[in-house]
Symmetry: C2
């Protein structure tokens, strides 16, 4: 037999061949040692007889120094190093004369005795710095250079750490990670599926999962008891600014639970993640009904980092001769503290114009300034006495110096507009403390939404969501109008006004599930063809169960105070669903189409 | 605002609403306590005035007892419980009169005071026991019942644990898990891709990744330094017995490493996994060249759990008048210890016929029995003297009682046949100790394989594999014949004769990669269209790098001494690529095809 020898594992991340140390770990205690590092040239500087070069890797930056007097050949070689060249350098660690306190390795440098160029680099199309001059398209095409930049690399490392901590917590709670299949069946009732033609079953298609919903329910029927998965999901949507055709979920399901068990478990997950990645102890997780959230914030995902709750004004503004308020279904306002003096007429005009843009669509803005001197200045002085306006101020708890903003019109629309105004004022008035995190559970969502256009009900959450127990008899026996008032055992976790995730207690009874499919407009045949396996499973001892999914990309972004998920995805797609780096999608060979028995129709639809 | 109250997390897996305990945790120390459990009825027994029911969940089985004298109504209800009914039972833990030592909860039972049927069950189509009467098709269709069976559930739990330990180890070694995209570009040179039509880019297709190979290399160029991912991969192959269209890999890549660093790291991973899931300390990880593996075992994945190394016999069997050996390119044999008396003529005939089956295709089997009395009995006594045959025995290290089996013919074919014979004898002679694990690194694979049929080279590993450093000049300048002798820096980890995974040092130089594409028959345009992004990346400071992938499904099976990966996949597909439970693939709506601009060709190809 060939050489057979025992390897002993060196359980260390130090590899003694290409490098003895990475670029982030040398310290004063290493002074005098001979070391080898490898990495990318960040930049070089020639200062008289000395040449300096910063070498970068994932772990940090270390300064190399070359001395023209002592080794002219090496120093000359060093002067030819370009940015992003990959090098290996061996030398002696020595103390720096001018230290760099901003860098972990800033007390030392390496006096190089051997230099080895491992690979050269063309001049990068944008600078590899924290702030880069590269536009989005360029950064995406050269994503491998973009990821070398510390902010992007840190995002990717954060994501990895977040996944590890997610698994650590869920494992500690007895959850089992089960991989569900990617090649499943198309159920086109929700968003559009991506489909995958089958070669072995010609004319038939798999679909990529929009979520593992039915599989995780099947796992509950199978007795897995607590399931989770960090899993890619797919939706073929027209891409809006911050949507991706493939995205990642923390997907969970539990058996023999009530809603409280689930909220406790996932409040625990959120606390664990914030503590173990950001070192932050989250505060309370208050709860609010969907109806209250809509009434008080005009949104099912209120940002609780600042106040300005809605105050409904119908009862004290109507019948005073102001026809706009009189005609409105809802008159509702918010109070901004201490801006009466600061906010000029021009500011008010700006704000009104901002509200009147088509994206928001408000007709106009009424405001009441409760001035520091106690006087009232308002746009509706003609219709209301100062006394009446002071009553308004009282209802809002407004003090001298505050401004009340009022919108009116159709209730749902007006609430949405006021929500936009509230969020905008939160930004303009800098009411949000950086690093503040305010979680919130929103509960008691409606089960069904009536869609006027298609003249049918849609599931507010999804078709597997259970109505609240008390509503089940009404659901089984109620009339059409009753259905509109059913509440679901559904919940969303909101942090800082972003929906982190949501879930529900599921239906585990065949008759109730069939009833729900009926209400949602499925024929018996459609329900059976698409979800027959689940209905069947419910007949063989399905336990009560429920679960939840967090949007993993969104969670990464929110935890880092960022609004775009794209920066937390190593290889995102652009708004046309294209991967700019690999240039996908692309055409395929005719032979591939032929094997799949497919033709591409060239005419426009 | 609605009720706002602080939740305190109970960091426990005990949910006090549906159950106070699971079915696996009650012990003698709980006697006298009031408890609630929930689960599935495994079976019931009526014994006079008592009714017993076993309740099962993921954690175990607990016995319930109902007393007709004390609560006739409850007992009558209990007698109606069917198998697989889902129930919730509250009662007092008491000591059992006849204990069950085979069950963790066997010392206690629950005397039930409240019984709640949470869901009923039809009679299952097969028994939910360790050994079931369900055939494969039935088990797959009702996979949710199959997974309730302990052996299947244990496999799934093992898989989850193996993934957790994999991540724990790789995280401790500084690896970052990065999610690479699933919607990528078709590169049809390898196995067939599954493709995904793009609606937003009509006539164009994504492909599902066969592996994240190019992305992980890009991540090295991006400075991620150490990457891993436990990731689904896809191959549209004609499915053989134990292949799945979607399968899972532990995928890894490292920068600034030589082969030794990678072998150390992943020997470390294997040791960690065996220790922390099976409690086993693995022995040595010997190494063998590909050439030696083929010469000594006729296989690139030798099973080292038993001996019987090949002995080549050309030099001492030729020229003695036995025309079959004289004409053979290779005469080669193995020695089976101590079976000369045991193995009858009929056994030899059976073995010969087994070898002559078309799957193996040997012409015949020569054997030499070195009998206990020192005499020799052989099928080639006509051509060789006893003295000559004793010399053979000596070459094999054979002792009295051993049998030498000899095959001959074209070298490669003969080695394969003898490999089959060796493995078969290993089984028949029960040479494999249960629970024994023998790892092996196979090294120094050829870089290229010449394919006579297509008249071109194939990459033995894949097109990104680096030749050994010493072979690079020969690769850049050599002639056609030289190319056949190039060795790659590639390696496979074999355990018990199963290939667990493999990898290589990669090319990180654009010119060398282009040369390799040339050799593999890519035109410049094809190489650029498919892999231009990678070639481009190599021009911007690509570090030396290498990596490896383990087949996760296979690893699960091998670690459990099982041969089928299907039993370690929650929802596997059958040999036609169908999911029998959800009945996928299936036809899709015409509207979906229309949106994708696709037609299905109905004629046969």
């Amino acid at each position: 037999m060939y050489r057979t020898f025992v390897l002993t594992l060196k359980n260390t991340n130090r590899f003694n061949m290409y490098r003895s140390h990475n670029c982030g770990e040398l310290r004063v205690s290493d002074i005098g040692n001979k070391v080898t590092i490898a990495g990318w040239i960040q930049k070089g500087r020639d200062l008289g007889g000395l040449t300096f070069a910063d070498v970068r890797d994932r772990y940090g930056v270390t300064q190399l120094v070359f001395n023209m007097d002592e080794n002219a050949e090496l120093c000359t070689q060093a002067r030819k190093l370009g940015r992003e060249f990959v090098i290996q350098a061996t030398g002696i660690v020595r103390e720096r004369s001018s230290k760099n306190a901003n860098r972990a390795t800033g007390d030392i440098e390496i006096e190089v005795t051997e230099l080895n160029i491992l690979n050269e680099s063309k001049v990068p199309p944008f600078t590899i710095e924290d702030e880069t001059d590269g536009g989005d398209d360029l950064r995406m095409k050269y994503r491998y250079l973009d990821i070398r930049r510390a902010p992007v690399q840190n995002n990717i490392i954060f994501r990895s750490k977040l996944a590890i901590e997610t698994r650590k917590y869920l494992d500690s709670q007895g959850f089992i990670e089960v991989e569900t299949p990617f090649l499943i069946k198309s159920t086109p009732e929700g968003a559009r599926d991506f489909v995958v033609p089958s070669r072995l079953n010609q004319g038939q298609f798999y679909a990529l999962p929009q979520s593992p919903q039915t599989f995780k329910q099947i796992l509950m029927v199978a007795g897995i008891d607590k399931y989770f998965q960090i899993v890619k999901c797919f939706r073929d949507e027209d891409l809006r600014a911050d949507r991706q055709p493939e995205f990642t979920q923390i997907d969970c399901e539990m058996s023999f639970v009530h809603i409280e068990d689930i909220l406790n478990t996932f409040e625990g997950l959120a606390r664990h993640l914030f503590l173990h990645t950001l070192g932050l102890e989250l505060g309370d997780f208050p709860r609010m009904s969907y109806d209250d959230a809509m009434r008080i914030y005009g949104s099912d995902k209120p940002d609780l980092r600042f106040g300005m709750q809605f105050v409904e004004m119908n009862e004290f503004v109507k019948g005073k001769g102001f026809s706009i308020f009189d005609a409105a279904e809802l008159v509702v306002g918010i109070c901004a503290k201490g801006i009466a003096e600061k906010y000029s007429n021009k500011d008010m005009k700006d704000l009104t114009e901002w509200l009147q843009r088509p994206q928001i669509g408000a007709k106009g803005l009424v405001y009441i300034k409760y001035q520091e001197d106690g006087s009232i200045k308002s746009t509706v002085g003609k219709f209301y006495t100062d006394e009446e306006l002071k009553l308004w101020a009282e209802k809002f708890g407004a003090e001298k110096g505050d401004v009340i903003f009022v919108l009116s019109g159709e209730a749902e629309k007006t609430r949405k507009q006021l929500n936009e105004l509230r969020l905008e004022l939160g930004k303009r008035l800098e009411l949000i403390k950086p690093g503040d995190f305010k979680p919130l559970w929103v509960l008691d969502f409606p089960l069904l939404e009536w869609d006027e256009e298609s003249n049918r009900f849609h599931a507010m959450h999804h078709p597997f969501t259970s109505p609240k127990k008390a509503d089940i008899p009404r659901m089984l026996n109620g009339d059409h109008e009753t259905m509109k008032s059913l509440k679901a055992d559904a919940y969303d976790l909101v942090i800082n006004g972003a929906e982190i995730g949501g879930g529900s207690i599921r239906i585990h009874d065949r008759a109730l599930q069939s009833k729900n499919f009926d209400l949602l407009g499925f024929s018996k045949e459609e329900a059976e063809a698409q979800f027959g396996f689940l209905l069947g499973a419910f007949e063989y001892g399905a336990p009560p169960h429920g679960g939840l999914a967090f949007g993993f990309d969104r969670l990464c972004a929110v935890m880092n105070g960022q609004s775009s998920i794209r920066d937390f995805i190593a290889f995102p797609k652009n708004n046309q669903g294209r991967d700019m780096m690999i240039d996908a999608p692309s055409s395929i060979h005719d032979s591939q189409l032929k094997e799949l028995c497919l033709d591409i129709k060239t005419q426009k639809m």
